[in-house]
Amino acid sequence: MEQLVYKRPESIKEDFKIPFCPGCDHGVAVRLVAEVLDELGLREKTIGVASVGCSVCSYDIFNVDIVEAQHGRSMAVATGIKRSKPDKIVFTYQGDGDLASIGIAETIHAMARGEKITTICINNTTYGMTGGQAGPTTLLGQVTTTTVNGRNSETSGFPLKISELLKEIDGVAYVARVSLDSPKSIMNAKKSIKRAFEAQVKGLGTGFVEILSTCPTNWKMTPQQAHERVRGEMSEVFVPGVYKDKVSEAI
């Protein structure tokens, strides 16, 4: 008897070639988003927004309509789409540099307006695409190409805790921080991503998921070491959990 073990989600392109570095969590993250779009039956009415960074490859991956935003502007671009076509499902897929540094104003104000969009943020504590510079989420002491002696708060400030910041905004319906370091956390991440899309489907407000993600290339670690780091020092500063959930209340 044949048993289906693995199937490409409909929301992932058939000719999809992984553009990411070996061991990078982006691959798992995009699959989870695609599975959720499939399971909620949203693929054919979804418009995605690709941001600048490693996530720019979104249009080579997701089997949905996609528009590329300028660096940091994804949530404003998503606002323009959603307000013009309120019956569509709109999501952004952004890195932490794009969302929390250059795009923090667009992020906060889209959420303050309660835009009915879903936002997935990959937090890997560095600028991956440009070769591993310090970003808004770089941990204290973390060595990057622009903090060669480790991030020092005196000169480079502190890592921004995105989920804690955004949960305070009234227009946000769902905020969770998840990781992808074990099968259990992957299952958990998928639940949160689903909730973030349900927030939009039910018209409750913005749905947001911050995914603690690995960047083995720029961290100069093996994938295993990178996941250890997520479980260890990253999760100590960026504590995983559901920070806000108006969706479960509504169901």
Binding site: K13, R43, E44, K45, T46, I47, V49, A50, V56, Y59, F62, N63, V64, D65, I66, V67, E68, A69, Q70, R73, A76, V77, A78, T79, G80, I81, K82, R83, S84, K85, K88, I89, A105, E106, H109, R113
Partner: protein, 365 residues
């Protein structure tokens, strides 16, 4: 009601025309002297079942326009000078993406914050682009409240027909003055956008809109295609006004608000026996170089008048490559006091004596 001639302020005329044109979403951040457009749209858009969003910045406003335009709807933002400067990155993306949209720039005097006086200091910003890369923003410049309406229609039509950002370049004088005008029906055919617009990949392959183009040849072709499009737009959608050009010895060039004052001065010059005409380009970008060159063949000289330090002047001059011995004089004022008809007349008379009559020997007496 709408077809009656009414006393209308320029800003409201633009806003009403946008509604009449079928603008589906409007995004803006306030800035004088055009905030009345946003004020009007904040009520009129929802009343018509359309979207108004108070953007958190002009950077966000143009990004919202990018997103809205990618779905194929008619979409618009309006702003002014130093704030349009903030939109330049987005405009570069929109041009490369071939997304239709309308930008209204009600110019104020710069540089920097400058002030809200009528000025034409953003001719360069609009026609030469502040954004990166090879692209153009198609630009129309009204010189009356009626033209604010008619050209807003034109901007929507051209943007949708050629899938390109189009700018209505007005100024504080046009935006704030009132004169009789008719907000007529949108006169253009609707252009179907369904072959490319994003609306969810139902029963078709997904589409993507992006400016990123890592393939050298593909990127080259993309830019070449844009410039072929601009050439077509100039051929098919050019607009200008020629006044008393036939047989003129001196042609005055001017655009936008100042052109109507120039026209009054040209009329006075004609009355006083000076053989003067006016050429007013309405489409500023792409610039009608051929027409300027043709006019220049038949005259002794050109006097360019602008509310700046000589910006369109550069395009007038570059149009004249190959036209022999044509003197080009300039009279400009960057900000503040609007030129009067008499002041302009004096300049015309002075230039006429210098260029035309000297040539025929009558000025030596």
């Amino acid at each position: 009601m709408k077809k009656e001639k009414k006393l209308l302020k320029g800003n409201y005329a633009i806003a009403q025309a946008a509604i009449e044109a079928g603008c589906q979403s409007y995004f803006a951040y306030p800035i004088t002297p055009q905030s009345e457009i946003a004020e009007y749209m904040s009520s009129a858009m929802p009343e018509n079942g359309r979207a108004y969003v108070a953007a958190e910045s002009e950077v966000a406003a143009i990004s919202m326009v990018l997103g809205a335009g990618s779905t194929g709807v008619k979409t618009m933002t309006s702003s002014s000078s130093c704030a349009v400067a903030l939109m330049q990155e987005g405009l570069s993306f929109i041009a490369s993406d071939e997304i239709p949209c309308v930008l209204v720039n009600v110019m104020r005097a710069g540089p920097g914050l400058g002030y809200i006086y009528a000025s034409q200091g953003d001719y360069f910003q609009t026609t030469k682009g502040g954004g990166n890369g090879d692209y153009k923003i198609v630009t129309y410049a009204p010189s009356s409240v009626q033209e604010c309406i008619d050209l807003t229609y034109k901007c929507f039509y051209v943007s949708q027909k050629y899938r390109t950002p189009v700018c209505l370049l007005a100024d504080g004088m046009l935006a704030q003055m009132m004169e009789p005008a008719i907000v007529g029906e949108y006169p253009y055919e609707e252009i179907d956008q369904t072959s490319w617009a994003l609306d969810g990949a139902k029963n078709r392959k997904p589409r993507f809109i992006a400016s990123l183009d890592p393939d050298q040849e593909s990127l080259r072709k993309r830019v070449v295609k844009l410039f072929e499009k601009y050439k077509k737009i100039l051929d098919e959608e050019n607009m200008f006004e020629k006044y008393e050009i036939e047989g003129a010895k001196l042609v005055v060039t001017a655009f936008g608000s100042i052109a109507r004052i120039v026209k009054a001065a040209v009329k006075k010059a004609r009355k006083n026996g000076l053989n003067v005409g006016l050429f007013r380009p309405i489409m500023l970008n792409p610039f009608p170089e051929k027409i300027v060159a043709e006019i220049a063949q038949k005259v002794d000289g050109i006097l360019d008048i602008e509310l700046n330090c000589g910006q369109m002047l550069q395009d007038i001059k570059s149009s004249l490559a190959g036209v022999k011995n044509i003197p080009v004089e300039f009279f400009g004022r960057p900000a503040g006091k609007m030129m009067t008809v008499d002041e302009i007349y004096e300049q015309i008379e002075h230039t006429y004596k210098k260029i035309v009559e000297k040539k025929y020997g009558t000025a030596c007496i």
